[in-house]
């Protein structure tokens, strides 16, 4: 009964929404999340729930696949480092509010040490430990030996390496040009551009949340909700034919899910106006073109007026508009996901004639 409820609630539309709500609450109530008490409660609660879930044979068979073990480790590390940063930031924010310097800025912590040997020794030992870990791993979890590659056959489900599963899940909602080339390219370029866009000198050398609220929220949203969360979905919740399966659901290859997707042009011309698709491509896709233009260009002045004007002043026009462009590109993913879930929308702009679909 509980397991069925969990299966139902872990379908992407509910679990993603739930994740966003939790994310929002966690950053809103950082004074509670960023305490040791909460950290311990979270750890014990997670371990209890995880232990209960592992007792289920289907869930155990999913998580114990050799490919999925690194993702369990990744989850633990992401959980830990996110909470730790928020905890440290919260501590410093309290100190700063009380007029004290951050912990990293206290006289005893300002003392400097030599890079050699202090830093280099630490790095050496980290390197040795990583090597030992990888060797032991390679001994215990062997790479599977399969038949020779056959270009006319694909395994079912065909899964990318674990670190790309978020990208593969993203491809469900986009054309390969968008999710495979444009958006990953923007992620890389955007991450490189961040230090040049972010002019806020606060937070240099010490943890803080309140002094960098927007930067941390935007980054954690992209990292946790749009990358780590999608890896979870792609790894644990996608089975044969890339159909969704709950964590306790048997991977039945014949599970039928109705997901007839239609383009925006078909929704408007056929369903709304009840006429056929126009022959002319531009006329056919006019609404998609308008929607895309409105989203990428039209709402920029509105954002600037409502919220962005102070950033426009502090960052300068070039930095500000690059920031807005990156933010809008990032938000296009969750928007497209919700459009798919609610309206079965395949493409806003569908021009397969030119391999251009958004």
């Amino acid at each position: 009964m509980i397991k069925e409820a969990i299966n139902f609630l872990s379908s992407p539309v509910y679990s993603f929404t739930g994740f966003l709500v939790l994310f929002w609450i966690a950053l809103k109530r950082i004074d509670i999340v960023g305490t040791k008490k909460f950290g311990w409660a979270l750890l014990i609660g997670t371990l209890l729930i995880f232990g209960w879930m592992v007792a289920d044979p289907i869930f155990f068979s999913i998580i114990s696949l050799p490919d999925n073990i690194p993702i369990i480790i990744l989850n633990a590390l992401v959980f830990w480092s996110t909470w730790f940063a928020l905890y440290k930031g919260n501590q410093n924010d309290i100190r700063i509010a009380a007029g004290e310097p951050p912990i990293e800025g206290t006289p005893e912590n300002r003392e400097k040490v030599w890079a050699w040997p202090n830093l280099v020794y630490t790095e050496l030992f980290c390197g040795i430990l990583c090597t030992i870990f990888l060797v032991v791993w390679a001994i215990f979890f062997k790479a599977p030996l399969e038949e020779p590659a056959n270009p006319t056959w694909a395994p079912n489900p065909a899964k990318a390496p674990w670190y790309f599963l978020g990208l593969q899940e993203m491809l469900v909602y986009f054309d390969p040009w968008m999710a495979g080339v444009v958006l990953p390219g923007l992620i890389l370029v955007g991450l490189i551009a961040l230090p040049f866009i972010d002019m806020n000198p606060k937070g240099n050398g010490y943890y803080t949340f309140k002094e960098r609220k927007f930067a941390i929220t935007a980054f954690l949203f992209g990292w946790l909700a749009l990358w780590v969360f999608l890896i979870q979905v792609g790894t644990f919740l996608r089975g044969p034919n890339w159909t969704f399966y709950g964590p306790f659901e048997y991977w039945d290859a014949h599970k039928v899910v109705a997901e007839n997707n239609i383009n925006l042009s078909e929704i408007i011309w056929i369903k709304l106006f009840n006429v056929g698709l126009p022959k002319n491509i531009l006329l056919r896709e006019i609404f998609g073109l308008i929607a895309t233009f409105a989203y990428m260009v039209g709402i920029v002045p509105l954002i600037t007026k409502k919220w962005g004007h102070r950033y426009l002043k502090s960052l300068g026009a070039i930095r500000y508009y690059i920031l807005i462009f990156l933010l809008l590109s990032m938000m296009s993913l969750p928007i497209k996901m919700y459009l798919r879930w609610f309206f079965n929308l395949k493409y806003i702009l569908a021009m397969p004639e030119f391999e251009l679909n958004l």
């Binding site: 694909a154 065909a158 593969q168 054309d175 493409y347 569908a350 004639e353």
Partner: protein, 167 residues
């Protein structure tokens, strides 16, 4: 010519040595680069042939036939007096969909694109229908499938006379 004159180079000799040196260096580098470039291409390619003879139209039942899928990457589809050869490459990102006879559809294992038996996309992210190959008959009446020529639905090419044979 005296002995001392030979010990030093004049300006013209210096530049000709320099030119010979650079040309040699350039030629050696180009030769090495061309070897590396050649190395990128395999000596033998184990790919299915681009055209093949697929027997007589009467050999095929109505609907989707999978017999050439593993050898040549082609599904034969027979319906309403027309026989076509369909590509088995998903138009989304190039995976190989699975034919599910019980559900009467093709379903891609990579991102969940689904196609009707005739190759029209209806599920998942696939932006366009499966491509069709050139199909014709030889003098004996056997089917010849030629994968070098593709016909795309969204370009209105499926009614091209080379895209199907009447049966």
């Amino acid at each position: 010519m005296s002995e001392e004159a030979k010990t030093s180079l004049n300006r013209r000799e210096f530049f000709s040595f320099l030119a010979v040196g650079w040309i040699t260096f350039g030629a050696a580098t180009a030769g090495l680069a061309s070897l590396v470039f050649r190395f990128l291409y395999p000596n033998v390619v184990f790919e299915p042939a681009m055209d093949f003879i697929a027997g007589f139209p009467d050999d095929y039942p109505e609907g989707v036939d999978e017999r050439w899928k593993n050898g040549f990457g082609v599904w034969i589809y027979k319906k309403d007096g027309r026989l076509v050869a369909m590509s088995n490459i998903c138009t989304h990102l190039g995976c190989i969909p699975t034919w599910l006879p019980a559900e009467s559809k093709f379903k891609c294992p990579c991102h969940g694109s689904g196609y009707y038996p005739n190759g029209i996309n209806f599920e998942g992210p696939a932006p366009r229908p499966l491509e069709r190959f050139k199909i014709s008959r030889d003098a004996e009446g056997k089917i010849i499938v030629d994968k070098t020529k593709v016909f795309r639905y969204e370009k209105g090419e499926w009614n091209n006379t080379d895209a199907f044979i009447e049966v």
